[in-house]
Structures are given as structure tokens and as C-alpha cells.
Symmetry: C2
Subunit: 357 residues, 2 copies
């Protein structure tokens, strides 16, 4: 349904219709020019040959410093999505299962399904301010559970898991011998401090990337921080699949790390203003929603709404959103990605409010 | 062993030792500047966002024209290696098998093994000028065979499969209901005309890429030409794994296609001279070998040689080659990649001849 909306939005645009696109998690802001220039310089310097399947040494070392680990713990991946897929591929066998708090990013479920792995969802809801319940999570774990996937800040709710809950989940995982994969791609730009899985030792999997925090969605560069043995297995899998992330892209990313805090501050400031602008419109409507802890999403609820139908109808009014069903069992919800300017946010959300049943 | 040699060569270089590297299939020539500039322009124009998992429309259309198919038959992939891996992933189940003429590119075997798929090798040898025997190939096919992987021109022999043999193999595959995956990454720069699987209809899999014919090894861009149904499945797999090839890389590749014949002619001319230079040294030695039909490799034989030991010893003399065991059951052989200039080729091969037992 997410792809159907996306395709229809593009079709309408191609017909000359203006569509305000709240449907994709792809920020409108350009990649910082310093990153583009660094990638170009690297190309001209011949960084266009096969590179290491582990990642360029300089980038691994810099990421190791940032995360307080050794470079041997870092593997650069073709986007954070490939990091998730290869973790599932290496750690789970057909018939085993992974536990995922929901609402959740669609790719976890699709990757697991493709690998013959069962996904067990732990439903959370707006009523509890999207609190993940460790007791319920524990009850989902059985002998075939190999992995728990956390995503804090979360896509689509933009909520952060509080420290107490995070610690309890890690504790449960540890006691059950289950690995935690923590997808932290929104952490660097979070409005509030978000715990990292690395705060709880190095025996789990940190997944992160440059897409969101460096406005590099289309560059396809992410990374994992894992134990050395798993790092070696991931490197070997890269060798027979993606080979490497282009070295010149890695030098672009490395340049980004130099001004990491500045870039994150800029993104945070821009998206805080956008969230406030959205809040001022939505709070006048009958929608229920929670204040986001991070960019880029709002995930409001309208009692009795069929969000798939609503999303399709809304397209005809020139606004694209993602129906809640794309993120689990959330038919009354929809996701708004604040990836357009403030004026367009107001205009789009006003149209959206008018369209509410 | 290939990786061991490669790592040791890099270590020696880091110690300040000069190593003539014949061990990797990564040409020394730079990516044509027009491709670099086109990629840079695309970056500056904002082609840095998520792109289609199928590939950019303009690139798919241009490749479709070149191959005489529809754009719907073309899927752009994160290197031709990912095209091979995803074909195996989608078409074979654990316990099924793939037939591969040998010597062969290591990745076919490693990818199959990782997926629990058996690889059945059809051995060929220098004595028959590396002829692939269709009768023997047919004898290897059983009820669990799903795929035959052809690679003409071949890595490591640089030999082309003659038209009669190619036709016979396709005929056998068809009669047995087995798909042919034809890896044609060296075809555009072949010294002699090489058949394409597309000469025999569109029901099989063409794998190709920009690495070799456009000197873009580190850019990670390849593609497949397949039936529309399989194309859709590959696009879906891209959506949950690699997402897309960065759009700016695709615009670099598209620029390359504009001067495709010119770039291929230049590569062919350079590597023909190198092959001749190598031939003049090697023909004075006791090595047996066949004249290459294509860049970049020679695959000579020395009776009684232990090529693994030889490759390691040779490194201490400042020359790196790939032992034949990396390409199948070929201990008396080794692969020489002519990816250095003519002078270095002569110097390296003379050292190599001196080192022969």
C-alpha cells in the first residue's frame, strides 16, 4: 500500500498536479555541499576501485572513536537496510523468529518474511504514549527467538524508548540468550536523548547510517557495530553480495563526520520548527497524537478511520500520507513525514483536516 | 587463499615494498573523466535521494535499447555480483543445485554455498583449449538442477565459448527446463565476438555490469535482463536489501553508455598490447597457456606446480598472482591479471619466470 500511494503520487505529479508529499521518509533538504565535494574529490583521486568489504579503514576508525569501540567492531554496509537484512540472514534460520515492537518500519517484517523467519509483533498504542511493555515482550520470546529489533527513535511514531524500559528489554534479552538489534538511524538528530544499545555493552548489534542524520538517503551507506566474530561474518557476506560501499561515498560520509554535530543541530532545528508548525494545525483538529521526540514523523489517530481509503482519497486533494497499515495493525492511524517546508506543511495539513471524515 | 594473497600484498606495500600486482581483476586505468563529471553534476542537481529499486528510468531505457528488450526487462543492481546472488537467492532452494563450467569465478561457488545450494562443476582444461563439453554438462544435470551459470569471456581463462557450443548448452538447458544465467561482464571489451544469451531468446538471465567495460569496478553498478515476472521479484528483493543504486552513480553510467564503443575500443586496444607483451615473455618460458580472447587474464599452467606455495613465495620477490585453486581444481595453474602497464608486465613476468621451480 505504501508503494501504491507512492506510485500514484508520482503519476499525479507527472500529470502536472501538485502533490504535497508527506508519504516518504526522504527529507527535502539537500546533502550538505561539503559531503558532495569530498565525494567528488575522492572520485578524482581515483577512489573508484574495489574497496574493502569491511569499509575504508579511515571511516571505520572514525566511527570506532565516535562509538567507543575498536575499528574491528565496525562494518560499513550498503545502507542500514542491508545491515538489518544481513543480520537476519546470518543469525536466523528458517522457522526461527524475531520479536519486533510495533508500529514498526516495514522492512524488518519484509526481510524476515523473505528469509522464512516469523516476526512476532509487540503492539503498543497511542493511549500509553507508545510505551513498549517489557513484560509483554518477554511473553513473546520462545526457544526459537533469536533477535529483538528495537528502533528508538521509532519510525513511524518518532518516540524514544525511555532508559528504564530500554534497560529492562536488554536485561530480558540477555537472560533469554536473545540478541538485540538496535536500529538507531534517528538517534543523532533526536530532540531528546535516546539510549544506545552500546550503553549496555558490546554483545548486541547497533545499526546506524548516514541517510537521516547526514541527509544522504540515496547514497546507500550505513554501518553496524558488532562483536568481532560477527563483524567477520558480515564482511564475508559483503564479499559475495555487495562487495563494498563505493570508496568515494565513504569519503563523503567521513567528511560529514567532521561537522557531525553542526549538521545534526541544523536538521534538529529545522524539524523542530516543522513539528511545531504541524502541531499548531493538528491540535485544532479531532486527531489524537503524541508530540514527537525526534524527526521526521507524526503518527496521528482518528477513531474509526480507514486510513488506506483515506490516503487514496486524500491524494485526489493533492496530499500524500502513508496509511497506518504499512506499519502494523494500525488502520485508524496514518504517518505524516514532515519532509516539506513549513508553509507546505500548514497548507497540506489544512487540506488533510478538511478531508477528515 | 585469494584474500590471503591480497592481504599479504597490501601488508608488504604498507611496509614500503614494491609489489607488481597481477592478483586482482581491477584495471589500473581510471574511470573515464566524463563519467566522474556526470556523477558529480547529478549529485549537485540533487540526485541524492532514494531512487527506484528497479533503477533510474533513463538508464533502464537506454540499456533496453542496447539489448533490444523493454525497460521492464532491465533491473539495475548493486554490481553484477549482487545480480548473481539475488538470482541464486530467488531461484534456488536449499538442497537444489547449479551447474558451473570450471575454472570459474569464485563468487558463484561462495554465493551458492552460503545459500545451501550445491555447485556441480564441469571441469575443462587447457589441453582442449578450455572447451566446455555440452555432453558432460548434460550429464551433471539432475531433477534438482535449477541453473547453469555461463561466463563467456571467462574469468580466469579469458576464453570465449564458441557459438556452436553456446547454442548446444542453451538447447540442453531448455530441454531440461533449466535456466541459464549468463554472466557477460567481459563481452563488450572482448577481442573476439562473444555470443550473448539474448541471441537465444529472452527466457534466461543476462548479467552484466559497468565494472569492467567502463572501468567502474568500485562504483558497484551492474544489471540484469530477465523476463518481466523475474524482474518484479528482483525489484522487490532490492526494496528490502540494497534499496537502489545511488541515482548519481546511475547518471555516471548513463553518460558512459553515450561513448560506449569508444571506451570499449580504448580498453580493448590497451589490453591487446598488454596481452601481446605478456605473450612475448611467457612464450620463452616452460609455461603452457592459451591466447586470451578477451581482457584481463592469462591462466598459465606449469606441470607439477603447487600454485598456492608458488604464489606465496612469489610475493617475497615482489609479484602477486592468484593461485589456480581459487578458481576450482587447478593447482598447477595461476591467474595473471594484466592490470599494470606494459613495462611492469614485462618486469613482473620476468621475475615470475625466474621464480618458476
Amino acid at each position: 500500500m505504501l508503494y501504491e500511494i507512492s506510485e500514484k503520487a508520482i503519476q499525479l505529479q507527472n500529470q502536472g498536479k501538485e502533490i504535497i508529499k508527506f508519504n516518504l521518509g526522504d527529507p527535502d533538504l539537500p546533502t550538505p555541499p561539503a559531503i558532495v565535494e569530498a565525494a567528488y574529490e575522492a572520485m578524482k583521486q581515483g577512489k573508484t576501485k574495489y574497496s574493502s568489504a569491511a569499509g575504508e579503514k579511515a571511516l571505520r576508525e572514525e566511527l570506532a572513536v565516535i562509538h567507543g569501540v575498536s575499528a574491528d567492531n565496525v562494518v560499513v554496509t550498503t545502507g542500514s537496510k542491508w545491515a538489518v537484512f544481513s543480520s537476519l540472514f546470518l543469525l536466523l534460520k528458517r522457522g526461527e523468529n524475531v520479536v519486533v515492537p510495533s508500529p514498526h518500519w516495514t522492512s524488518y517484517e519484509l526481510a524476515a518474511k523473505k528469509l522464512g523467519v516469523e516476526t512476532r509483533f509487540l503492539k503498543s498504542d497511542l493511549g500509553s504514549n507508545w510505551k513498549v511493555d517489557p513484560e509483554k515482550l518477554e511473553a513473546l520470546i520462545d526457544d526459537n527467538t533469536r533477535l529483538i529489533i528495537l528502533n528508538s527513535p521509532n519510525n513511524p511514531t518518532s518516540k524514544v524508548i525511555d532508559s528504564k524500559t530500554f534497560a529492562e528489554i536488554v536485561q530480558i534479552a540477555q537472560s533469554k540468550g536473545v540478541t538485540v538489534l538496535s536500529d538507531e538511524v534517528y538517534s543523532d538528530i533526536s530532540f531528546v536523548k535516546a539510549d544506545s544499545i552500546l550503553d549496555y555493552g558490546k554483545s548486541n548489534i547497533l545499526v546506524s547510517g548516514f541517510s537521516k542524520a547526514f541527509l544522504m538517503t540515496g547514497w546507500r551507506i550505513g554501518y553496524v557495530v558488532v562483536e568481532k566474530e560477527l563483524a567477520k561474518r558480515m564482511i564475508k557476506l559483503n564479499q559475495i553480495t555487495t562487495t563494498c560501499v563505493p570508496a568515494f561515498i565513504q569519503y563523503g560520509a567521513l567528511k560529514g563526520l567532521e561537522t557531525r554535530k553542526q549538521i545534526a543541530d541544523d536538521i534538529r532545528r529545522t524539524f523542530k520548527l516543522r513539528a511545531d508548525a504541524a502541531y499548531s494545525v493538528l491540535s485544532k483538529s479531532k486527531m489524537q497524537f503524541s508530540r514527537p521526540d525526534a524527526p521526521f514523523y507524526l503518527f496521528p489517530k482518528v477513531d474509526g478511520l480507514d486510513s488506506e481509503r483515506f490516503a487514496l482519497d486524500l491524494l485526489d486533494r493533492g496530499v500524500a500520507v502513508a496509511p497506518g497499515t504499512a506499519f502494523g495493525d494500525y488502520r485508524e492511524y496514518f504517518r505524516i513525514a514532515l519532509t516539506v517546508g513549513e508553509d507546505k506543511i500548514k497548507e497540506g495539513l489544512e487540506k488533510l483536516c478538511e478531508a477528515l471524515p
